[in-house]
Amino acid sequence: MTAAIRTRELSKDYLVGFWRPRPYRALDRLSIDVAPGDVFGFLGPNGAGKTTTLKLLMQLVFPTSGEAEILGRPLGDVSIRRRIGYLPENPYFYDHLTAEELLDYYGRLFGQSAADRRQRVGKTLDRLGIGAERRLPLRKFSKGMLQRVGLAQALLNDPEVVFLDEPMSGLDPLGRRDVRALILELRDQGRTIFFSSHILSDAEALCTRVAIVAKGRLAASGTLADLKEFAIQGWELVMAGVPPEALERVRARARRVVTIGGDRYAIDLPPDGRPEELLRELAAAGATPVSLNPLRETLEDVFVRRVAEMGEGARS
C-alpha cells in the first residue's frame, strides 16, 4: 500500500549570519512513513524542526538533501495539492477579505465552479462553527476565530491528507475540544491527518501513531503504547473515607500514601499494583473512589531527557 506521507533522509540547512553565513541544521535526516487513515502526531518542543518539516512537505522551503512523497507523488507535483489541506502555524490571511470571500478565493484556485464554491464555502464554515461572522472582514477576527478559518480553508477541498501545524495553539478549552472532535471526525471519514504539537495530551487523545523530534532529529516513533517512555510507570488512586484498619493494608501494598486533606488519600501504586482489586476492597470497606490515573512520563520529561542525551551524544 502506498504511504500517505513518506520522507527519506530529509534534511534542511538554513544559512545563518550575515557576513559569514554558516549552515544551521533545522532538520536532520528525517525518515518517516504515515499510512493512509493514520492520525499521526508529530511531537517535539519548540524549535525541534516540526514547522520546518511541514514547510518542506508543502514546498515552502526546499530540502538540502533527502526526498519526500505525498500520496506516492513527489512534492513538486502541483496536482497533489488538490488532494491535501494545510493549516500553517498561527495562520494569517488577508485583512480586507471576509471569511466567505477568502474561502471563495481559495475555491477558485481549486477550479471549483461558482455554484460548487457557494455550497462548499457555506458547508465548511458551518462545520467550523463560523456563523454570521463570516461576512465580517478578517481583521476583526480573534486569534481563535482565525484558527477556525485556517481549518476551514484546509478542509475546503475535502482533502485526503490534512496537515495541521499546531492546530490547538491559541484556542480556548472549548476550541480545543472542537478541534479534537473535528480531527476524530476526519479520521472516521478515512482521511490521513498529520499534525504537529508540543502537547502530549493532544496526541494521547487522538493519535494512532506518533513521532518525536528533538533538535531536528527523530528521537522515537511508533504507537504511544509502544514507546517505552510512555509505558505506565504506576497508578495514582485517590479515595475518600478510607477506614483506619483498611489504611494499614493499603500502606503494605502502596509505594506511598499521602493525605491530601479531609479524609482523602492519594495512593501511589507500582505498575503491577492491581489498582482495580484495591479499589474493590476499599469500596467494600466503605471508602468512596475519587479518581484513578495511570502515571506516565510526560512528553516534556521525555523531551528534556532526549535533548540532554543528544547533547551528550554530540559531545562524545
Binding site: Y14, V78, S79, R81, Y86, L87, Y92, Y94, H96
Partner: protein, 268 residues
C-alpha cells in the same frame, strides 16, 4: 493557467478595498479646479494647458500606483505569511507572480480609463460654446483622439514600471524595492543622455558604466509623447507598435527574472 485569474482578481479587489481608487477623486478635483482657474486667466490656451496637465497627472498618479502597490505585491504576502496557505493550493509560483502582475495591470488600466474619461469630459466643457473658426485655429481639436495615443504610451510605461517593482518585490523589502524602482525610473528617463556620456566625461570607467546602464535599463523617455500630442504633432502608428514591442520585451524579461527568483525562494 487557471490559477492566474483568481490571483489577479484578488489583487484588483484588494486595491479597491484599500481605497486606491480614491486617487481618481483627487484627479477629478485637480482637473476641474485647474480648468476653472485657467479658464478665467487665459483665452484659447486653456484647452492645451488642461491637456498637458491632465496627461501629466495621469502619468504621475499611475506611477504612484505602479510603484507603491507593485513593491508590496509579493513582499507583503511573504512578510505576513499569507503566502503559506496560498502556495499549498494548486498554484505554481510562476502563476502566482503572473497573477499578481496581471492584477496590478488591471488596476492601472481601470484607473487610466477613468482618468481619460474625466479628461475628455473636462475638455468637452471647456471647448463648449467656443466658435468653430476659433477652434479651427488650434494645434489640435479639444476632443483629440490622439490623446488616447498618449494614454496608451503612459500605460506601456507603467506596465514596465510595474514589472520593475514586482521584480524587486520578489526578493527585497518594500523600502528597498521603492528606492530601486524609483532609481530605475529616474535613470530611465535620462537614458538617451547616458549613450552620449562620453561627450561630457573623460573617465573610461564612468563611460563604460553609463553605456552598460543605457543598454540594460529601459528608456522611459520614449514613452513620453505627451508634448507631441498636445501640440498636434502626429505620433506614427509604427512608433507606437515598436514601443509596445519594446515594453513587452522588458516586461517579459523582468517577469521571467521575478519567476526564477521566486521559484527558488525559501520562506523561512
Amino acid at each position: 493557467m487557471s490559477a492566474i485569474g483568481p490571483v489577479a482578481a484578488a489583487v484588483f479587489r484588494e486595491s479597491v478595498r484599500d481605497r486606491v481608487f480614491y486617487n481618481l477623486v483627487l484627479f477629478g478635483v485637480l482637473l476641474v479646479g485647474a480648468s476653472i482657474v485657467i479658464g478665467q486667466l487665459t483665452a484659447g490656451q486653456d484647452v492645451k494647458i488642461i491637456k498637458d496637465l491632465g496627461l501629466a497627472a495621469t502619468s504621475l498618479f499611475g506611477l504612484f500606483i505602479a510603484i507603491f502597490i507593485g513593491i508590496n505585491l509579493v513582499s507583503k504576502e511573504v512578510e505576513r505569511r499569507s503566502v503559506y496557505p496560498l502556495l499549498a493550493k494548486p498554484i505554481t509560483r510562476p502563476q502566482f507572480i503572473a497573477g499578481k502582475y496581471a492584477g496590478l495591470l488591471l488596476t492601472l488600466l481601470v484607473n487610466l480609463a477613468v482618468m481619460t474619461v474625466a479628461l475628455y469630459t473636462v475638455l468637452y466643457f471647456l471647448a463648449r460654446g467656443i466658435p468653430a473658426p476659433i477652434q479651427g485655429a488650434w494645434d489640435a481639436p479639444a476632443l483629440d483622439p490622439a490623446l488616447l495615443k498618449a494614454v496608451a504610451m503612459i500605460f506601456l510605461e507603467l506596465a514596465v514600471v510595474t514589472a520593475v517593482a514586482l521584480f524587486f518585490s520578489t526578493y527585497s523589502s518594500p523600502m528597498l524595492s521603492a528606492i530601486f524602482t524609483l532609481g530605475v525610473y529616474v535613470v530611465g528617463q535620462f537614458n538617451a543622455e547616458l549613450k552620449r556620456f562620453d561627450a561630457i566625461v573623460d573617465s573610461p570607467a564612468a563611460i563604460a558604466v553609463a553605456k552598460a546602464c543605457y543598454y540594460v535599463l529601459p528608456d522611459f523617455s520614449r514613452f513620453d509623447v505627451k508634448l507631441a500630442v498636445v501640440h498636434g504633432v502626429p505620433v506614427p502608428g509604427a512608433f507606437m507598435a515598436a514601443s509596445a514591442a519594446y515594453a513587452a520585451a522588458y516586461v517579459a524579461a523582468l517577469l521571467f527574472g521575478a519567476m526564477v527568483i521566486f521559484a527558488r525562494r525559501d520562506f523561512k
